[in-house]
């Protein structure tokens, strides 16, 4: 039984995320050259590829970062046209972007950001806002899972955090917000082995039949801990190969060149 089946994925279910023939350019340079991707609820997809292949661009475009020109193609999230939504509306609809380089925001504390973001999501879902005690209890439990000291909550967002702390903070935010779809852009980069396990535990704790994860990564080491249902290789702006976890292991042995050459041929 596949991991997706274990998570309750139904083969005939409509995709949560459907990307079709997406072409994107930045500054006149085409970066995505016809990407198609279908992610159903409960699935974990890994997108791998060499530097400059367009992995981060795909994550940013789906999350709505400005500066990218969509030439053609479409993306839908639970049947809604993703590109018609502002970035904040995409987030409130349940799409979460875990940043490769989380920014530091001096002067804004973590607790405030988390509470503002959570309450925005809850309002969108028709839920009441959490009061201070409920919020604190929730954040404490998630912080414990991510091995983040509570004192972090009173500090400015990511200010003075190490690279690993920033990544754990990203996953903490994800766990508090409980998105339907998490796009995690190289969440494993810069992590030591112990931190990688903590981050992986956090991601795994979110897995379930109603949630999906898209992991963008260079290396398969994260996939030892977060086992994907599907692995895709992005090269020269398009997906050149898809498979299961065995593909990631093959990439670990052979590198990307052979696929890049095939894509160029």
């Amino acid at each position: 039984m596949s991991a997706a089946a274990e998570n309750g994925v139904q083969a005939g279910a409509a995709p949560m995320l459907e990307v079709r023939d997406l072409q994107v350019q930045v500054g006149g340079q085409k970066v995505l050259n016809g990407v198609s991707l279908s992610v159903r609820a409960g699935e974990v997809h890994a997108i791998m590829g060499p530097n400059g292949s367009g992995k981060s661009t795909l994550a940013y475009v789906l999350a709505g970062r400005p500066g990218y020109e969509i030439i053609s193609g479409s993306a839908s999230f639970e049947g809604r046209d993703l590109f018609a939504l502002a970035p904040e509306a995409r987030a409130r609809a349940g799409l979460f972007l875990g940043f490769q380089y989380p920014v530091e925001i001096p002067g804004v504390n973590n607790a405030y950001l988390l509470k503002a973001a959570l309450n925005a999501a809850r309002r969108e879902r028709g839920q009441s806002e959490l009061d201070a005690f409920e919020f604190l209890a929730l954040v404490r439990s998630k912080s414990h899972l991510m091995q983040i000291d509570e004192s972090f909550l009173g500090r400015a967002v990511n200010e003075g955090f190490s690279g690993g702390e920033k990544k754990r903070n990203e996953i903490l935010q994800m766990l508090v917000l409980e998105p339907k779809l998490a796009l995690l852009d190289e969440t494993d980069s810069g992590l030591d082995i112990d931190a990688l396990k903590v981050v992986a535990n956090g991601i795994n704790s979110l897995r379930g039949p109603e949630r999906s994860v898209v992991l963008v990564t260079h290396y398969q080491r994260l996939l030892d801990h977060v086992v994907p249902d599907f692995v895709h290789v992005l090269a020269r702006g398009r997906i050149v190969r898809s498979g299961d976890r065995a593909l990631a292991l093959e990439l670990e042995r052979r590198g990307y060149d052979w696929l890049v050459e095939q894509a160029a041929a």
Binding site: A63, G64, R65, P66, A86, P87, E88, R90, A91, R92, F96, L97, F99, P102, V103, I105, P106, G107, V108, N109, Y112, L113, A116, A117, A120, A121, E124, G154, R155, A156, Q173, L177
Partner: protein, 435 residues
């Protein structure tokens, strides 16, 4: 030819100032020495002249606002019945809540409510010469000429005092001259809140003088909050002298007035003296807020830390000029300037000018000045967390001012200052977001 002739006949602003002075000089309070001191100030202003934007010190000041005033003589505000006036002010909500532990002095249109006039203008003694305003502080001479009262504080031991300068509608069309004179004795401690508030329709000149002597080992924490009405032209002239091991810490917040100019000079005269100058300014509409701060390191092991954060919205103009001079007699000095501006309007302008002048080898000095718009990367990060654009912008502006607001050690005052800042800026609700 006709127009040239007409221009020549038009009185200059200096003519008008001196005319007003001569018209009221005899009726101003004080003894013969006081009148002599006023006359000297008038003579000095006549000699050095009205400032010009051609002068580097006044380049970014909105001098026109000070030149178009209808009158420079003190407003003819009636001497108030203190108790009744105070009660009326409290009923109207004009008075901010008292910060716990602070004693409050209230000045209405330049005159202390319920207090005896405490100011004797400097006589022809050495004191007058010491406080003889240099050209870059020359608007301070207006207060020397016209002021009729002063908050004079001589501190020994520890004290917490708030001085509230209120401008009433009765001052409209005239001028108000608040004056604050501080002397801190050796090893004394003073926490001082200085506020300038104006009634909404009180169009007036408010020209404030502050002189400060911080004695050896003394510490002064000085919170300055300027909330004058938009109709006000506000001139603020400050001169502080620090003795050995003295520490002067300023937290200046400028939100009000149509035009506000701060001219400040701080002299670090004693070994180990230290200055922390932290300032924020927020302008919108057509507001102009300009600060020219000059710091002189005259003794060894002195320190200056200068922080400015300004937000200009709509068509507002902000300027901050920080000049630090380290003399040859000041080895071991340390100076840092961090000046940052945030432009939030197509017609807004911010000019930041850090300037270090170093005449000795053994110093540590750094300066940085940046002006720009909100960082799109930070904005996107917040949007990607589902925070709406309006709130995200507000949050980032709030954070920008946080470098200074966080330094307000008095929670009640900080809450009040945050409330004023929130009212002044677009997109910024009052929120407790600062770590």
């Amino acid at each position: 030819m006709m127009s040239t002739s007409a221009t020549a006949l038009r009185p200059t602003v200096l003519d008008r100032v001196l005319h007003d002075y001569r018209a009221v000089a005899d009726s101003l309070p004080g003894d013969a020495q006081a009148h002599a001191a006023r006359a000297r100030a008038a003579g000095l202003l006549a000699d050095i002249g009205w400032p010009s934007i051609r002068d580097e010190h006044w380049r970014y000041a909105n001098l026109r606002a000070f030149e178009r005033l209808p009158a420079y003589r003190p407003a003819a505000s009636p001497r108030q019945d203190a108790a009744a006036t105070l009660a009326a002010l409290q009923r109207s909500g004009a008075l901010p809540p008292l910060v716990p532990g602070f004693e409050r002095l209230i000045f209405l249109d330049g005159v202390q409510l319920g207090g005896e006039r405490s100011w004797q203008p400097p006589s022809g003694s050495a004191e007058a010469a010491q406080w003889c305003w240099p050209a870059e502080l020359r608007l301070g001479l207006l207060c020397d000429m016209f002021a009729s009262d002063a908050a004079r504080l001589q501190v020994r031991g520890e004290a917490r005092i708030e001085v509230l300068f209120l401008t009433s509608p009765a001052a409209a069309g005239g001028a108000v001259y608040p004056r604050l004179q501080l002397q801190l004795a050796r090893d004394s401690r003073l926490q001082l809140i200085e506020r300038h508030l104006g009634a909404a329709d009180a169009a007036a000149l408010v020209a404030c003088n502050v002189t400060i002597d911080v004695g050896p080992g003394a510490q002064l924490r000085h919170y300055r909050l300027q909330q004058c009405s938009r109709e006000t032209a506000f001139s603020d002239t400050l001169w502080a002298r620090l003795a050995a091991q003295a520490h002067y810490s300023v937290c200046a917040m400028s939100f009000g007035a149509g035009t506000a100019r701060t001219s400040a000079r701080v002299q670090l005269n004693g070994r180990g003296a230290a200055l922390d100058w932290q300032a924020i300014a927020a302008g919108r509409g057509e507001q102009v807020q300009d600060t020219a701060l000059s710091v002189e390191h005259a003794a060894a092991d002195t320190r200056t830390d200068e922080v400015f954060r300004g937000i200009a919205e709509e068509r507002a103009r902000l300027a901050f000029s920080g000049h630090i001079h380290i003399a040859a007699t000041a080895p071991g000095s340390h100076a840092r300037q961090s000046l940052r501006g945030l432009i939030e309007g197509d017609g807004a302008e911010i000019d930041l000018r850090p300037h270090l002048e170093i005449n000795t080898d053994e110093v540590r000095a750094s300066h940085g000045a940046t002006t720009g718009r909100l960082d799109e990367n930070l904005l996107f990060y917040l949007l990607a967390r589902g925070i709406d654009r309006h709130s995200a912008r507000g949050l980032l502006k709030w954070a920008f001012l946080g470098d200074v607001l966080r330094e307000i050690a008095l929670p009640e005052l900080r809450a009040q200052a945050e409330g004023v800042a929130a009212g002044q800026l677009q997109d910024v609700p009052a929120m407790e977001v600062l770590p």
